[in-house]
C-alpha cells in the first residue's frame, strides 16, 4: 500500500508539522516514509505545502504531480491541487475564507471547518490536529495510537502536557468532517 | 689587532645564528626587512623552546616562501586567508603556538575580512604584519597602505587620495575590536628597534597561550626595491614619511 498525500495552506497553519506527525506515524508503524516540504520564505507567510508518502515499499520519487489525497486549507491551494488528485482519490478542504469550492465529481470530497471551530472554541493551536483527525476518519491510513506516538516524537518534551489536548482535537476532527457534495 | 683565526675562535664568538633558521639562501632583496623579522622569529622560537609546538602560516606576497627558511611546520595560505587558516589550526590544536606572517597586501587588502573576523572572534593567534606600503612580490604596485603622494607602478604620479583613496591604518582599526588583546607597531631599521620588535613578537606568541585573544605586531618596513631606493635611503625615507603616518609604539596591551 502506498499513500501519496499533499497538504497545503498558509504558512503558520501547521501544514508542515501536520505532515511531520503523519510521517512519524508511518515510521512508528514500520512503513517507508518521505516528507518533502516547500521551503524558504513561504514557510513564514506565503503558501506552504508538504508532500508526505507512506508506503510498504521503497519510495521512489518524493516529488509528485498526482496525489491519492490532497488536504487544502486555502483558496490558492485548492485551485492548485484539486486537479492533481488521482481519479477516485480524496480531497479534504477547510472552507474558511474560500469563495470558490471544489468542482470535481470523480473524486471523494470532504469539508472540515476546523478553523471556524477552533476559533469559536479557543483552540487555534490545534487546527492541524483537528484536520488530521478528519483525514483519519475518511482515510484511516495510520492508527490513532501511532499518531500519538508520532506526535510525542515531534513535540519537545516540555510540550508533552499538550498531548491530551491534541488527542481530543483528533477526535473533534473525526466528528467535524463531512462529505461535500459538488 | 686580532687575526681572523682569533675572531672565529669559538671562545671569542659573541653571536650565533639561531638553529631554527636554516641555511637556505633567502630570495629577499638585499636590504629587505623580512630577513630581520625571520631571524627574530627564529630566535624567539629557539629561546622559548617551542619549535615542536609552533605552526606558522605563510601568506601570498614576498613572504610566501617563509616556510623555506624557518625549520618549523608551516602552511602556506591562499592570498589573504592566513587568519582563517590559522583559526582552524589553533582551534584544532589549542596547545600549539600558531602565528600568521602577512604583508600589507595580504592582510590589509584581499584579506581584510579574514583579519577582522579572526581578531573579532579573539582567536588565540599571533599576527605578524609586515607593512611596507607597497606590493613587493608583484613588482611595486600600490597597496592600501601606500602613503598619499607615494609613487608606485600603479600610482606612477603619486597616490592621489581623490582618485585612489587613503592610506589604511589596519592596526588602528583592529585596536577597537574586543577580541584583540595586544596591538603594537614596531620597526627593524636600527638595533634598538630590532630588540623592541623581538620583545613584541615574543609577547604576542606568549599571549596566544593565555586565552587573551588576538595579538598583532605590525612591523613598519622598507621595500627598497619597490621604493626604488638604496637600503640606507629607504630607512631614512621610512623614518621621515612612514613613521608620521604609522606611528610606532603600543596601541593596545591588555
Amino acid at each position: 500500500m502506498t499513500e501519496e498525500i499533499i497538504i497545503s495552506g498558509f504558512g503558520g497553519q501547521g501544514v508542515l508539522s501536520m505532515g511531520k506527525i503523519l510521517a512519524y506515524s508511518g515510521l512508528v508503524q514500520g512503513q517507508e516514509v518521505s516528507w518533502m516540504p516547500s521551503y524558504g520564505p513561504e514557510q513564514r507567510g506565503g503558501t506552504a505545502n508538504v508532500t508526505v508518502i507512506l508506503s510498504n515499499e521503497r519510495i521512489s520519487s518524493p516529488v509528485l504531480n498526482a496525489y491519492d489525497t490532497a488536504i487544502v486549507l486555502n483558496q490558492p491551494s485548492l485551485e492548485k491541487f484539486e486537479p492533481m488528485v488521482k481519479p477516485g482519490g480524496t480531497l479534504i478542504f477547510d472552507g474558511n475564507g474560500m469563495h470558490k469550492l471544489p468542482t470535481r465529481t470523480d473524486i471523494r470530497v470532504y469539508q472540515i471547518n476546523a478553523t471556524e471551530y477552533a476559533y469559536a472554541n479557543n483552540a487555534s493551536k490545534t487546527i492541524n490536529m483537528i484536520i488530521l483527525g478528519g483525514l483519519l476518519k475518511v482515510r484511516p491510513i495510520v492508527e490513532i495510537e501511532n499518531v500519538l506516538k508520532g506526535l510525542k516524537k515531534t513535540l519537545p518534551p516540555r510540550h508533552h502536557h499538550l498531548l491530551p489536548l491534541n488527542e481530543k482535537a483528533i477526535h473533534t476532527g473525526m466528528d467535524l468532517i463531512q462529505s461535500f457534495t459538488v | 689587532m686580532s687575526s681572523i683565526q682569533d675572531i672565529v675562535d669559538p671562545a671569542n664568538l659573541v653571536y650565533e645564528k639561531t638553529t631554527v633558521m636554516n641555511d637556505t639562501p633567502m630570495h629577499y632583496c638585499p636590504g629587505c626587512s623580512h630577513g630581520v623579522v625571520h631571524k627574530i622569529l627564529g630566535e624567539i622560537i629557539q629561546e622559548m623552546g617551542i619549535q615542536e609546538k609552533t605552526i606558522g602560516v605563510a601568506p601570498v606576497g614576498c613572504a610566501v616562501f617563509a616556510y623555506k627558511y624557518l625549520d618549523i611546520d608551516w602552511q602556506q595560505a591562499a592570498h589573504g586567508r592566513a587568519p582563517a587558516v590559522a583559526t582552524a589550526i589553533k582551534r584544532l590544536l589549542p596547545d600549539r603556538y600558531v602565528f600568521t606572517y602577512q604583508g600589507d597586501g595580504d592582510l590589509a587588502a584581499i584579506g581584510t575580512a579574514e583579519t577582522i573576523h579572526a581578531c573579532s572572534r579573539g582567536e588565540n593567534i599571533a599576527i605578524i604584519y609586515i607593512n611596507n606600503g607597497i606590493y613587493g612580490m608583484t613588482g611595486g604596485q600600490m597597496a592600501p597602505t601606500t602613503l598619499p603622494g607615494m609613487k608606485s607602478t600603479t600610482s606612477p604620479n603619486g597616490r592621489d587620495q581623490q582618485l585612489e583613496g587613503h592610506a589604511l591604518d589596519m592596526s588602528k582599526l583592529l585596536v577597537q575590536l574586543d577580541g584583540v588583546c595586544y596591538v603594537t607597531r614596531q620597526s627593524v631599521h636600527t638595533v634598538g628597534a630590532v630588540r623592541k620588535t623581538k620583545k613584541a613578537i615574543r609577547k604576542a606568541l606568549e599571549n596566544s597561550m593565555l586565552n587573551k585573544g588576538t595579538s598583532i605586531v605590525e612591523v613598519v618596513s622598507t621595500c627598497n626595491s619597490g621604493w626604488r631606493m638604496s637600503p640606507a635611503d629607504s630607512n631614512t625615507w621610512m623614518e621621515e614619511n612612514m613613521f608620521p603616518v604609522y606611528g610606532l609604539g603600543d596601541l593596545k596591551d591588555i
Binding site: 516514509v33 518524493p62 | 625549520d71 591562499a78 582552524a88 589550526i89
Partner: protein, 362 residues
C-alpha cells in the same frame, strides 16, 4: 558519548549530514549559513559535539573563510568539512583548488540551488560542471558523490572522508535542495572515535602538527615556481585521478536488464526517474534507470556497455544539460542520447519525465 544503536530515525538530509559527521569522527566543521542547507550548522550547534567527541564547530564569516579553515584543519591531518549551497560553493572554488594543489583531504557538501547568480533557493543540479570538471583553476579533479536519499546523505558523509584521506584530495557531496530538506528514514552510521594525534602522525606523516626532532619540517603548500617540478606534481595528481577512476566508480541500475530506453539521472532526479520507470513499465514501455552515484569518476564504462543493447538514453537533470555531455562521451554516437531538464528551481515531475521519453523516442 551516546552509544550507537541501530535506531531508525526520521530526519532531513541536512540533519543527517550533521549527525553522520559527528559519528564518523569528524574533527572540525566550518560553515556559513545559506539556504537550503543551514540546518547542517544549526543541527551541529544544537548537538554541541565539542562537549562529547571534542569536534570543533565554527560559524565562519564567509564561505571563503570556511574553505580556508578547512584547508588549515586538513593541513593538520584533521578530518574537517564545510557545507554550503551553490553561490557559497562558487566562493569556495579558490580554496578547493588550493586543497587539490596541496593534496589535502577534506569534505565539501554542496546542497545545490538554482543559479546563475543569487538565483533561487529552490533545488537545482546546475553545479555539475563546477563540481565534476573542476570549478577552480588548474588541472584538478575530485571525487564527487551524488546522494539520492537521506540515508545516503549520512552514508556518503562517512564515505567522502574515507575517499578524501585515501586519495589525499578534497571530496564533494553534490546534493540538492530536496535531498537536503526532505525527511526520510535513516540509520545513522556507528560512532567512530576521533583519531588521536599519534594516529594522525602515523597516518598523515605530512601533517603540520609541530616539527619533531626526528623529522624535517612539514609544510603545506601548492606553490612550485619551477615549471619542471610543477609539471611533475601535475603528473602525480593525474596518476591519482586515474587510480580514482579505476577503483571508485559507483552507480545503481534499476530495471536496466531488459530496458530499451534508459534514463540517466542522479540525486533527486534519479528518484523522480525511478517513478517514471514504474509509470513507463505500467504502460508497457521497457524503461530503466542508470543512476551514477559517483559523478567523478563517472560510470563511463557501464554507459558504453549499456549502449550496446538499448535504443536510447535520456539524461534528465535540473539544469540546461550538463551531465548529458558525459553520457554522450560514453555512448560515443552509437545510439541517440537525448536530454530533458528544467531550470530555475523547478523539479520535473515523474509524468513530465515519462512524457519527455515518449516525445523524444516513441
Amino acid at each position: 558519548m551516546t552509544k550507537h544503536s541501530e535506531e531508525i530515525t526520521l530526519m532531513k538530509g541536512n540533519e543527517a549530514v550533521a549527525h553522520a559527521a559527528v559519528r564518523c569522527g569528524c574533527d572540525g566543521y566550518f560553515g556559513y549559513p545559506i539556504t537550503p542547507q543551514s540546518e547542517i550548522l544549526e543541527t551541529l550547534m544544537e548537538i554541541e559535539p565539542w562537549k562529547t567527541t571534542g569536534m570543533v564547530v565554527l560559524q565562519a564569516e564567509s564561505e571563503v573563510a570556511s574553505i580556508n579553515m578547512v584547508y588549515g584543519g586538513a593541513g593538520c591531518g584533521k578530518k574537517v568539512m564545510t557545507t554550503s549551497s551553490s553561490p557559497g560553493v562558487s566562493l569556495m572554488q579558490e580554496g578547493v583548488s588550493y586543497m587539490a594543489g596541496a593534496e589535502l583531504p577534506g569534505v565539501i557538501v554542496n546542497v545545490m540551488r538554482g543559479g546563475p547568480g543569487l538565483g533561487t533557493i529552490q533545488p537545482s543540479q546546475a553545479d555539475y560542471f563546477q563540481a565534476v570538471k573542476g570549478g577552480g583553476h588548474g588541472d584538478y579533479r575530485m571525487p564527487v558523490l551524488a546522494p539520492a536519499s537521506v540515508q545516503e546523505m549520512a552514508d556518503f558523509t562517512v564515505l567522502a572522508f574515507d575517499l578524501a584521506f585515501k586519495y589525499l584530495t578534497p571530496t564533494m557531496i553534490l546534493a540538492d535542495g530536496i535531498i537536503g530538506q526532505m525527511m526520510e528514514k535513516v540509520i545513522l552510521p556507528p560512532f567512530r572515535p576521533r583519531r588521536t594525534e599519534d594516529e594522525i602522525r602515523e597516518q598523515c606523516p605530512w601533517a603540520t602538527l609541530g616539527k619533531t626532532p626526528e623529522r624535517d619540517p612539514n609544510y603545506i603548500s601548492s606553490l612550485e615556481l619551477r615549471s619542471e617540478e610543477m609539471e611533475k606534481i601535475n603528473l602525480r595528481l593525474q596518476a591519482r585521478y586515474r587510480e580514482i577512476e579505476k577503483h571508485e566508480v559507483r552507480y545503481e541500475e534499476i530495471q536496466c536488464d531488459d530496458a530499451e530506453y534508459i534514463f540517466v539521472a542522479f540525486g533527486t532526479m534519479a528518484r523522480v526517474c525511478q517513478k517514471a520507470v514504474e509509470l513507463a513499465r505500467a504502460e508497457g514501455i521497457k524503461a530503466g534507470l542508470l543512476r551514477p552515484v559517483t559523478l567523478f569518476p563517472y560510470p563511463t564504462q557501464r554507459v558504453s556497455v549499456l549502449a550496446q543493447t538499448v535504443k536510447g538514453f535520456l539524461s534528465v537533470e535540473m539544469s540546461a544539460g550538463q551531465m548529458v555531455e558525459d553520457v554522450r562521451l560514453a555512448v560515443s554516437g552509437t545510439v541517440p542520447v537525448e536530454f530533458y531538464g528544467r531550470m530555475g528551481g523547478i523539479v520535473p515531475s515523474p509524468s513530465e519525465v515519462l512524457n519527455a521519453l515518449k516525445t523524444k523516442f516513441l
